[in-house]
């Protein structure tokens, strides 16, 4: 670290970003896919993916209760997600039970509105498991994963802030992109996607930390509530409903329609995101409605009813200041309030964030290789290792995600642990792509990976057509845009990787030609070089 503030910030930006860059790339990409988790769910469950019949929330709740009384009459708690737009197209129920050896177990079902019975779908992780990867990291214990993601997010924040400070001409270069100039072009893309989407990057990273704030900042809670008082803290902070124990005297549930009407009166149409039934069938039954997300701060509202009498016991949607901030940040992160336009914006901006991290990683090696190039030296081992990790992750991870979708269609339906093997396929394919650069020269590895990624995505709609009857020829005429959208986005992704492969190839040909020319005349004349130097 030497020189002025800008130099030290450049140093900080580089060394905060690099060590966690690959994890952040994974977190951003899998998290971004979460904005279309419901569409991915539908695609991965072709048996249940036909457009659901229009079902009102009340009808959905009735359907759920009928099923729960049948299969979970003795469970202490039922949870129902009535249909609520994008995220919950079908009624989903869950309840707690015990397995054969007496261990607690949660069961859940997605109900077919026409029969009231659960869909018989293939076992799959779907879009849910895919997006949960960005904070579970799958193979790690949850506490470890939370801390790891937290440390990476913290360093991401450091990299964002130091990146802004070190950017010499953040306003003058706001619209700058100079193609075909090697390292400078990478820097321009890195700056462009970083700066134009900066509000998103900052909010997503900061709010990501807020999700697990009670893990990271546990001592703050302990200082007031004591180490054993954490449950009490959560009850008070989140105003968790006070649920009495069952008295053992049976009593039927009050008619749900009146409870629902009460919710509509206060919250408007389609008000219920989750309906929880505590002690169902008991005189001490409680029904708790949690509000749907209609804007960034509307989540967290709750109504508590006496399940036997139907009396409204407690309602709150005005929360304390800190809880409003907390809910707003979580709401902004999840984007559950987003309609179609906003959801696409979230998705595309998430891809910009992923691109920012990817270009940052590539830039690190490009810079160091460019320094070595005139001397003709081979890069040191550390640079080579990082370049290998870059190829294996920047293109290798998307290939791994494609493998997840391929596995969903190709693994036998009756296979044991099928859903788990879909995820294994993701990580095995990624591992293979990480190994590739060790077997091939890095330049070749970039080509091979890009081509493979292009094929893996472009062929997904074909695979879908061969293995299901819900291909583009059916879904587009039927207007089933969730399913058609998946196939079309796969095609576009394949095309994108294909174009990247062609561009890379052309550049290499141009560079090789330039090296053969005398006096190092540039073989490709790009836009007029600008007098100002690149930032960073």
């Amino acid at each position: 670290m030497k020189g002025g503030l800008r130099q030290s910030m450049a140093w900080l930006h580089t060394w905060a970003g690099l060590p966690v860059g690959w994890v952040l790339y994974f977190v951003f990409l899998t998290g971004t896919l979460g904005y279309f988790d419901s569409e991915i769910d539908q695609w991965m469950r072709p048996e249940a993916s036909l457009p659901p019949p229009a079902l009102s929330q009340v009808e959905g709740l009735a359907l759920a209760l009928a099923r729960l009384e049948q299969v979970a009459a003795r469970a202490p708690r039922w949870t129902v997600f009535p249909p609520s737009g994008h995220d919950v197209p079908h009624v989903t129920i869950s309840w707690s039970t015990v397995d054969a050896s007496g261990r607690p177990l949660r069961r859940s079902e997605t109900l077919d509105a026409t029969t009231g019975a659960p869909f018989r779908t293939r076992a799959t992780g779907g879009g849910q498991t895919l997006y949960q990867l960005h904070y579970t990291l799958h193979y790690l214990p949850s506490a470890t994963a939370r801390w790891l993601v937290g440390i990476c997010s913290m360093l991401m924040l450091v990299a964002l802030v130091s990146g802004v400070i070190t950017h010499k001409k953040i306003l003058a270069d706001f619209f700058t992109f100079r193609p075909r100039q090697g390292q400078r072009s990478w820097l321009d893309i890195h700056n462009l996607v970083g700066v134009t989407a900066l509000p998103f990057h900052l909010v997503i990273t900061y709010s990501g930390l807020v999700f697990f704030v009670f893990t990271y900042m546990a001592p703050v809670v302990d200082a007031t509530y004591g180490r054993d008082g954490r449950d009490r803290f959560f009850d008070e902070a989140f105003r968790n409903p006070d649920i009495p124990p069952p008295v053992g005297a049976p009593a039927p549930l009050a008619p749900l329609v009146s409870l629902y009407d009460e919710a509509v009166r206060h919250w408007g149409e389609e008000p219920v995101r989750v309906a929880s039934f505590y002690n169902p069938g008991d005189r001490n039954a409680r029904v708790v409605f949690t509000r749907t997300h209609v804007d960034p701060v509307s989540n967290g509202g709750r109504m508590v009813f006496d399940g036997a009498t139907g009396e409204l016991l407690d309602r709150f949607d005005r929360r304390t200041g800190p809880m409003v901030v907390n809910h707003a940040l979580l709401g902004l992160h999840e984007g559950l309030f987003a309609g179609p336009v906003l959801r696409w914006l979230y998705f595309l901006t998430g891809l910009l964030g992923t691109a920012m991290i990817g270009t940052g990683l590539v830039l690190w090696t490009a810079k160091r290789k460019a320094k070595l190039a005139p001397a003709g030296g081979t890069p040191p081992a550390a640079v080579r290792v990082i370049e290998h990790l870059n190829v294996g992750t920047v293109v290798g991870l998307p290939i791994g995600i494609a493998a997840y979708f391929w596995a969903n269609r190709l693994l036998p339906v009756g296979m044991a642990d099928r859903a788990a093997w879909e995820v294994h396929a993701l990580f095995l394919a990624w591992l293979a792509m990480l190994a590739l650069p060790w077997l091939r020269p890095p330049d070749r590895a970039w080509h091979d990976s890009l081509r493979l990624a292009a094929c893996a995505y472009a062929a997904l709609p074909v695979l879908n057509a061969l293995t299901t009857d819900q291909h583009l020829g059916v879904t587009i005429p039927a207007g089933a845009w969730a399913l058609a959208g998946f196939d079309l986005v796969s095609l576009a992704t394949g095309l994108g990787f294909g174009v990247a492969a062609v561009v890379l190839r052309r550049q290499e040909v141009a560079v090789a030609a330039a090296e053969r020319l005398p006096d190092g005349m540039p073989a490709v004349s790009g836009a007029t070089p600008l007098p100002e130097d690149a930032a960073g």
């Binding site: 462009l192 906003l342 600008l530």
Partner: protein, 109 residues
């Protein structure tokens, strides 16, 4: 309303980009200070109108999120056009304003 908001953001960023000395020189050859200052005012005004249009369409909370998202891609579009077809920046901005006005009228009918 999405179209109106995006078109206003796009036109706003286009004018702001052309009000920068370097981009102005590249597109128009010379540097006319008065024209650049006018462009800066008009650019910010259009961008502000984009924010208002978003708020009108989605409400203040969701509208703020939508505005930032639309503005991001408007800025990226302007940057790409400045690189590959700098002469089109002003023309597309004018077209965007017309589209925004026409769409706003159509919605008001």
């Amino acid at each position: 309303m999405t179209v109106v908001a995006f078109a206003l953001c796009y036109a706003g960023f286009a004018l702001l980009s052309l009000s920068q000395a370097r981009n102005h020189r590249r597109v128009y050859g010379g540097d006319r200070h008065g024209r650049r200052r006018w462009g800066r005012w008009a650019g910010w005004t259009l961008l502000g109108s984009g924010a208002l249009a978003s708020a009108a369409a989605w409400g203040p909370g969701t509208g703020a999120v939508a505005f930032l998202g639309l503005a991001t891609f408007a800025a990226v579009a302007v940057a790409l056009l400045l690189t590959y077809a700098p002469r089109l920046v002003m023309r597309t901005a004018a077209a965007a304003v017309s589209v925004a006005v026409a769409a706003a009228f159509a919605l008001a009918m």
